[in-house]
Symmetry: C2
Subunit: 170 residues, 2 copies
DNA sequence: TTTCGACATGTCAGAATAGGAATGTCGAAG
DNA sequence: CTTCGACATTCCTATTCTGACATGTCGAAA
């Protein structure tokens, strides 16, 4: 399970509450690992139970601020380095492409056009995100920028591919 | 749920048994929508219950050959055209990138190097797959080729990105 | 004729995901 | 001082996914 490690990773930067983490997931991490509120709070409880994180302070509205424990940091590093064979990514978008043959050529082209628009939208969103973040020059943010660059290249590649694909349909 | 529709899509080409479909998933579809045997048989039962598919013939070892019903084809077309907002793809590979800051620069570069190798491997596998398939020129296979091209471009893009990213780490 | 690999399906427990409802508190603006 | 939006967590149900385990049959080769 990667949600577990995503939470450890975010807490490695600085302590935060479930609510804080939720917002982080909604913005940057949403693109690589979407998660819901119910899942997060449940996972935080489990991580606290197993000693990976601990409640550092309690705030105003029952707010619990979690910190990464030494044990949690060890586990995070283990996950990062002992990268087991990574699972195939699931893509319903691409899955549909396999079956476009049951549609008319016009409909199929229509779908690919949607993908082009989706990619353009994605590129724009990422550019906006880029501008909205103040990339203070701490070490951690280097990787945030690298991840963002991935997103930009990915969307560009997908757009070009979809344009090419639309042209293939006779 | 997309597994449901993936099965409908495969059956749209020609009737098949669960066992047959399983093999299809292990090869081409594994890259976009991995699924296990237990999931498949369960899903086939459900699809049969709801009338999307039906048992056309029974074979040797309790083999049940399923066919797509008219109702199933309608549902498949609906799924393809009324493409609801597509969910974000999950990528544990990219997720790790966000947290490489907790490692040493050497370790981080090591991870990116793994990604480069993974991408090269992916490109090779796809090229081999390409050669192994006899692309008979029916209409359906056009989209198989288009999907394969996506995979090739995706891996190439990821490799180039990882090379660039490794160079960013000071 | 035995034996073994490929064929073929079914079931089950446990984890992960999705999406929502319920509940309550604090602080600032009016 | 009231009200309302943001803060903050917990609980719930249903579905999906994972990884095993269980069971059995057919056909070909030794």
């Amino acid at each position: 399970m990667s949600l577990r490690h995503a939470l450890l990773g975010l807490l490695a930067e600085h302590p935060a509450s479930g609510y804080d983490l939720l917002k982080r997931f909604d913005t940057s991490l949403a693109n690589v690992w979407p998660a819901t509120q119910s899942q997060m709070y449940a996972e935080l409880s489990k991580l606290a139970d197993t000693g990976m994180i601990s409640v550092a302070a309690e705030g105003p509205r029952g707010r619990k601020e979690y910190t990464l424990t030494d044990e949690g940091l060890v586990e995070l590093r283990r996950w990062l380095t002992e990268t087991k064979p990574q699972r195939n990514t699931r893509s319903d978008i691409l899955l549909r492409v396999f079956f476009l043959g049951v549609l008319t050529p016009e409909q199929a082209r229509g779908y690919l056009t949607e993908l082009i628009e989706l990619s353009e939208q994605g590129e724009q969103d990422l550019r906006r995100l880029d501008e909205s973040i103040d990339w203070d020059d701490d070490d951690l943010s280097v990787y945030g920028r690298i991840a963002l660059e991935y997103g930009l290249r990915f969307n560009a590649m997908r757009r070009e591919w979809a344009e090419w694909a639309a042209a293939q349909i006779k």
